[in-house]
Symmetry: C2
Amino acid sequence: MISNHRPQRPMRSGRLFFRTYSSRGTRLPSLGTTLPKFSFPESTADIKSITSSLDSLLNSSKDVTIYGHLNRKPRKMSVNTFGELRDHNGDLTQIIMTPQSTSSELIEELRSGIPEDSICVTGKVQLKVPKAGEEHLRSWELIVEKFQVLNKSNEAASQLDKLKHSNPESLPPHLRYLQLRTPKLQDALRKRSQAANVARQTLIENHNFVEIETPLLFKSTPEGAREFLVPTRTPSKFYALPQSPQQYKQILMSSGFTRYFQIAKCFRDEDLRADRQPEFTQIDLEMSFISDSDQVGAVVEDVVKSIWEKVAVKPIYRPLGDDLLEEVKKTDNTNSLSFPKISYIDAMTKYGIDKPDLRSTLKFVELSKIFKSSNSRFPIVEACVLKNALSNGTKIPHSFKDNSKYPGRKPIVIGISTEELKTGWFEKFIEKGVLQFQEGASQGQLAEVLNVEVGDILAFSTREELPYENPTSLGRFRQLAIEEYPNHWRRKIKESSDGTIREVQDPSTLFVASWVVDFPLFNPPEEEGSERLQSTHHPFTMVKLEDYKLLESDPLKARGEHYDLVINGVEVGGGSRRVHDPELQMFILKSLLKIENHEELFGHLIQALSMGCPPHAGLALGFDRLCSMLIGSNSIRDVIAFPKNQAGADPMVESPTSVPADVLGNYHIKLEESKQS
Amino acid sequence: MISNHRPQRPMRSGRLFFRTYSSRGTRLPSLGTTLPKFSFPESTADIKSITSSLDSLLNSSKDVTIYGHLNRKPRKMSVNTFGELRDHNGDLTQIIMTPQSTSSELIEELRSGIPEDSICVTGKVQLKVPKAGEEHLRSWELIVEKFQVLNKSNEAASQLDKLKHSNPESLPPHLRYLQLRTPKLQDALRKRSQAANVARQTLIENHNFVEIETPLLFKSTPEGAREFLVPTRTPSKFYALPQSPQQYKQILMSSGFTRYFQIAKCFRDEDLRADRQPEFTQIDLEMSFISDSDQVGAVVEDVVKSIWEKVAVKPIYRPLGDDLLEEVKKTDNTNSLSFPKISYIDAMTKYGIDKPDLRSTLKFVELSKIFKSSNSRFPIVEACVLKNALSNGTKIPHSFKDNSKYPGRKPIVIGISTEELKTGWFEKFIEKGVLQFQEGASQGQLAEVLNVEVGDILAFSTREELPYENPTSLGRFRQLAIEEYPNHWRRKIKESSDGTIREVQDPSTLFVASWVVDFPLFNPPEEEGSERLQSTHHPFTMVKLEDYKLLESDPLKARGEHYDLVINGVEVGGGSRRVHDPELQMFILKSLLKIENHEELFGHLIQALSMGCPPHAGLALGFDRLCSMLIGSNSIRDVIAFPKNQAGADPMVESPTSVPADVLGNYHIKLEESKQS
């Protein structure tokens, strides 16, 4: 019997010691101890099914057999011994051994059990005596006749008992399987499975898509993010793991498939900031003979709405007009979008970011007619007012002025605490030369546009004409304001039935979706003096037809036929119409992006286009991110069974590892000698 | 306009030249040529939908718009111009331009079209004038009013016109997208998509499985086949791509998931014999709290039968008794198997292979009571008789005596062409000392057991007592006999309705399934003098409980709780009950397999088992192989969109490629200097 009476020790990041087996693999365990682990009666029920057929079970007094884990250490209380079983659904029931129901040996065995032992119990269901005040609740317990340990747990698991029932993250990551036994992560992975299934059913049943697997051993195309390489046994030849199935799916459009999708594994060897993973999953789709990108958007809306309806079981809203929301209803016209489209310029000027969180009504006021900026690189002056933010005598939140919260520049934030500041907040900045009044502009105009009152917080900043800074300093301020004031400036819900308007009760259940479109097709060259434009998304994105001639005259002004799907300020998907004309694609690769070896890198794609490839468009949804939103988590690690940590390691299996030189020799590679610094 | 009047050139294995663009990417194509490629009317129908609503379309004389590819070069015949459009379903229709229906410019444009141009046509449907003798057939054609080329094909595609309509393999592999446009491969990938969907629905809806993705960036575990390595930016650290999700799925069983599945990508860096791919797909599943392996088998049978029912739309049969078959009906009892179980020893002694093709009734006769073998390593003498194989004056097929058809030894094959041979075929071999009569054995006994007659082919061979040779020489002979005589010695079908027995009409539509069980758990050490046993399947397979004590006394005699699913002589899946007892698993790894670094390689799995991991069992189905059987193909390349060739290369994208030294430097590796030979 293993003692349970040690003091609870704090968790460390290192390995927990695991039980030392007496034999350490040198002796075959006896048949007597092994047999009961493999031979056991068939299960007749789980806790849910017993609860739902309780009356008939009580009447019949038939035996039931349940499997599960011991959920805590069994205890003897005067006469009887009490345990708790957790079944595969995470449901709990009390199990009781009495001297009448079973033998003293079995009672002893139950008492020596520790949490997380996996067990099989057979016995009779009886009604529980209700606690005082709970007489109206009917619950049951199991009188155990037979009891069998199917596998022992060990001391470490027993120590983890209490932690397990709180936050899975309080369990050490190398014991991921114990983290996964918690209700939170069980629910997360089950919902992820459901979401994948709903996405597939929607695409296959409603939209006639074909699921096609594309290769993971792909070709190195060093134009995007850093890739993972895979050495081969052919000297000096490498595969690369794909960053997305982009090229293969376009080639599928040239292969006669008109509607392709795949729930695809993708790989990026990026620095693992905040919440990224080196391998991730996307719902990837492409459609041919597409004359209007909205046809793709409509399919994607159906997928997203079906997932929210069937898995989140929550509505998804669209902003309607300025500050009202209405539940999205499915329409019969599958080619029209129901989430609104916001142009990139609108998003940047109103919200300071290309993925605005539209749960909030906060937006910016442009002050360029009133003020001139003194910095010619950032000529536009704009402001954001938080109405009544100081109303209850609160102060300006610290984060608004914390440099570390801003990736780049910071806006000026002023608490309008007095009548004097209300009318004269800008004077100091005029004096300092930060702002200048435009000719003919008046204070009256300013008051009218801004409408600042005592109790408001005012933030103002400058920005570029066409902002490539994303978010802008004021855009970042808006994000912080939404975090600091979760219940302020929320859009309200307009009931679709009767048009009544109501407040959102629980902001955590509110999902607001929109499309962002009309992105610039290119960004300016990264290096001074270079003429190499950068693709905003990727080099296969089609220009908007009305901007076609700008490709020659002023390509930085040309907008792409690209569309991002944004929910609650998170970019959950992005897609575009593609260039299916091989001559146009070559012009973009060669003359605009100036990719020298474009034939080597993309020759196969150009050739596939040149064989009568039909017009096509497609999109990819970030499935990990979508699932984490579904379960209300900020981290994609919660919806990935075995995530890597920020060092790219799997702490459970302890990968990556070193590999012997002779194995590397199979691939004609060797380790670089460590460099002298 | 591109000339079409060049002579047809024979295909070469090298690259086809592709159209040289005048500008080669230096000039933006004019808006006039680009616009029609992107702006085109919405499609109203495809060929199937027109055919099904033909009458109402003829009555309304409404315009229809269809998309597709030109299927052959349009031709002018006296007045009108005729083309053929192939739509996304691969259906064909004739399109006609008349001087009345449209302008001369459009007629000119259609005439300049070449095969595989992608097009959009609008016009009116009319009934076709039937050919003589086909007056009873009603078909239609399209009178074109508007015509638009959505993308040009090029000369190469036009040359491929004729090839395309025969066998996709006659098209060069670097033009995989053109191969994929053929009906055969369109059907193959669509069926694959359906099969995946049916498998998922069966597991999720009927059996409550959860689909969970496991990592592809895994840990190197150099115990199985050769793995692919993935260098990381941490010096001297590597991931490995998984050969299967085996360890992760067992750990999921320790994570509270009771029914897991995944349609998983797996990787093996093996020499690509015949029909293997470096990346392949399996339907991978695992179930916990399993007391009887048949529970897993029953789920797998439901998956396989559902796929055959819904995708192949063909029955799947099971051998009943000796040579009758009966269609499998689904039963309510999900825990009993309907495909029969054959033990490994039975399969080897009757059919000489562990994956017998049971469409055939051929089996072996053991002659050990009559003959002794002169070779003590191969003491057993056995024979296989092909009844009436020579009946029509045919000779012994060449392949039976062709050394190259046998991986190892070859049986002796005798055509019983005379009465003399019938009674005395063995005499020569007695003389040579190959065979000896057993004491007391008589010719009469031999005649009784073998029942050879004139016109039969007799093959005999020797084998080991417990054959590890697989197939045995006679087993390989049986495979050749089935190939050479596809319509002989076939099992017949017993109708389940009335018990009548009938011949199989089309052997290519016959599918016969069985389980093979009771494999030896270990194979003998590979090297002379070594004590390291080899796992027959993998080190996590549980021994049959009745053989438990043999693990200590005579482990080579112990049978594993492993089960293979075999259809038509192909192993389509394999699974087992696992060792969930950490002490037993350590004993196997350390004392039997003698894996020195088992803690380093499998410590995480042992630890996961030691945390009260419940009993579990699982199986994996080879999805590529299953799909190729579904479409009646011998090659998994036909059900993979972009397969690798036998050199492991993708001839379409031309991977693998070389990688610059500075990129390798990111991963702290460099190329090995080429070795001096």
